[in-house]
Structures are given as C-alpha cells and as structure tokens.
C-alpha cells in the first residue's frame, strides 16, 4: 500500500490472450493481493477464470451498451476504478492482452490516479500483437511494422509505408464515427479498401488473424485479397495483417554520406 497521504493505489495488469497460458506471476500476484479487481476480459469464460483468483472481481463489461458512445463507456470504466482508489483501496485493473496496447482505459486510469496523487502503474502482458508475431512467423525487425487503429486511416490523412508490415486493429468497427456501434458493414470496409489501394494492389494478400483466447483452440488465420475485404466476416477480435507490398528503396544519398564518414573514421583512426 502507498506510504503517502493517499493510501489508495492502482495497478493495471495484462492477463495475456490465452486463458491459463499467458498470465505472468507478477500480474497474478497483483490480482491476488489487491483489495478489488476490475476485469476487462476478452470473454466471459476468461472472466470466470479471473474470479477464481480473487473474491471481489468486478466486470467492466456491463458498461458497454450498443447505441452508447464507447468513449462514455471508457470514462465510466476509469471512474469505476478511481472511485475505489479514492476510497483508499488497492485496486487492480486486469485487462486482456497487454493493458497498454490499444487500450485507452488503463492509460487514462493511471494518468488520472497519478494526477490525484495516488500510486499507479502498469504491468505488461502478452498482447495479440505478440501472439501474431509468433503465430504468423513475423519479425517486425525485418521490414518494420506499422500499427494503426483502422478507423484512423479513414478519419485522418495518415501515411503508410507499404515496404513494412501494416497491422490494423479494430477493423470490425472501422469507420464508426459515433463510437456507438459494435460492428460496421461492407460499405465501411470498402472505403478502407479504397484508402489501402493507394499503396497496395487490390490483389495483395492480407491476413485476418484471431488469437486463441481459450487454450482448447488454435489461432485462426485466413488469407484473402485486399479486394475481398468488404465481404469478409470480420469480428471484434480480428486483426488485419498486411505484409509488405514491395522492398524498401535504397537511399543512395545517405549510404554515400555514411561511406564518407566510414572513410573519414579510417583516416582519423
């Protein structure tokens, strides 16, 4: 417990993606030792698993409602946790995957708790990103890897490097400006295809990837052409991975400058 004037504290931990497989010992310890645990799990079975680790696990799931802005939902989740922190409790937010990866709520809760003088920190977990590197055999260091929340490609003018991997998150709600929907349809994904077609040919092969959340299942990997994306069945848990469409261009100017430095080093040395 914090030794400062504020006795409440907050830790947001990642429970990983797969039930039983990914939860680290430190995250488990935080769950077990907290006064209250707030759970944002990927499904109800995972939440039942968390409930076995602590007597007071409170689901954040009831805050969601179709037709209600997810921003409002997220703020309510932050407030639910902060209310207990302010009451002097050691609070643990247990979030599926990594609590800091494509997860607004944990970052905001920690920011608010700290601004009010409470001890607050994050413990990492195994995210869907980590899983896809393993399951798809991708090394982000080979060509580079860009990650975008899919809607951001439509809401803003972003620049894509097609010589690197591109990973798109939350494609199931791409283009939802209201933040009030749990799914958007083919028309929205068609606009996404039009944006992506600026940098990729329509026959470029994409991967729809879904991590296994239950240990009795395996990851789902579907491959399809960019042009087929609007008609694809894409759910909340799916992530789109777009492999590079071309090799990186050689920067001859910079290489020449580096060579000049190399030569100067040899002379100086």
């Amino acid at each position: 417990m914090s030794s400062g004037a504020h006795t409440g504290s907050l830790v947001c931990v990642g429970i990983g993606m797969t039930l039983g497989s990914h939860l680290g010992p430190l995250a488990r310890s935080h769950i077990e030792q907290s006064d209250v645990v707030f759970a944002a799990a990927s499904d109800g079975i995972v939440e039942l698993w968390l409930a076995k680790m602590h007597a007071d696990v409170r689901s954040l799931q009831p805050h969601y409602r179709e037709g209600k802005s997810r921003m409002q939902t997220y703020r309510e989740m932050v407030e639910a946790m902060l209310t207990e922190v302010r009451a002097g409790k050691r609070v643990c937010g247990a979030f599926y995957g990594h609590p800091g990866v494509f997860a607004w709520v944990p970052h905001k809760a920690i920011e608010v708790a700290r601004s009010e003088g409470y001890a607050a920190h994050m413990e990492p977990g195994i995210s869907a990103e980590d899983c896809l590197y393993a399951d798809l055999g991708i090394d982000p260091g080979k060509f580079g890897c860009q990650h975008f929340e899919a809607s951001q490609l439509l809401f803003y003018q972003r620049r894509i490097d097609p010589s690197a991997y591109l990973v798109l998150w939350q494609v199931g709600v791409v283009g939802d400006q209201s933040l009030k929907r749990f799914a958007t349809g083919a028309g929205y994904r068609q606009i996404l295809v039009e944006v992506l077609a600026r940098d990729y040919p329509l026959d470029h092969q994409l991967i729809i990837y879904r991590t296994a959340t239950l240990p009795t299942r395996q990851p789902q990997v579907k491959r399809l052409a960019l042009s087929a994306l609007p008609q694809a069945d894409i759910g909340m848990e799916d992530t789109i991975v777009i492999p590079p469409a071309r090799l990186p261009e050689v920067d001859s100017t910079m290489r020449a400058r580096l060579s000049a430095l190399d030569s100067a080093d040899v002379i100086d040395g």
């Binding site: 497989s21 079975i45 939802d176 933040l179 240990p215």
Partner: protein
Amino acid sequence: MFDVIDFLDRVGRDATLRNASRDELAVALATAQATPVLSSAILGKDRQALGALLGQDPFCCYINPGKEDEDETEDETEEAGVKEDSSTQSQQTAVSPRILHALTSLT
C-alpha cells in the same frame, strides 16, 4: 466434481495439453470426469456454446477509441466554456494541446 475453469487453466499451462489432438483432449476430459455436454462443447471448439453453458453472453472487447483527441479537445473546450467557430476547431484538432504536450514530453 469436474470444474471446467480449472480444466481450461490446466490445459493452458500444460505444454502437452495446449497442443493436444482432439483424441488426447477427449482422454483428458474423460479422466477429469467432465460431463458429456461440457466435453462436447470443448471438443467442438465452440466458444460461444461453452460460454452459454457457463451462463456467459458474448463480450465486447473494444477498449480503444479511434479518435480520442478530438473528444478530449471537445471536452476541454466545453469545460473551459469556450465557443469556437468551425475553422478554429479544425485547427485545434489538427494540433491539439494534448498532442503538443505529448510531443514536447518526448524531447
């Protein structure tokens, strides 16, 4: 008595069970004395059916907005009681105070 959550936890932790074949998993379920209904749902790899058996509805798992900075900017503006025309708003959105703060803190 068979506890399905304990069973799943054990499968998740066990290097052999995690990648077991359907037959191997069936043996593990039988050994654990799983009920036929639960065994069927697990072996069928039907997460929704298993969730329904355990009284769990499908979850929403989005915890990230696509355009938080605009919302935050709007909130901050509302809180400050400031009214702006659309051109000013779009400028503020382009480089919001939060983004400026974030960029500054990186340097």
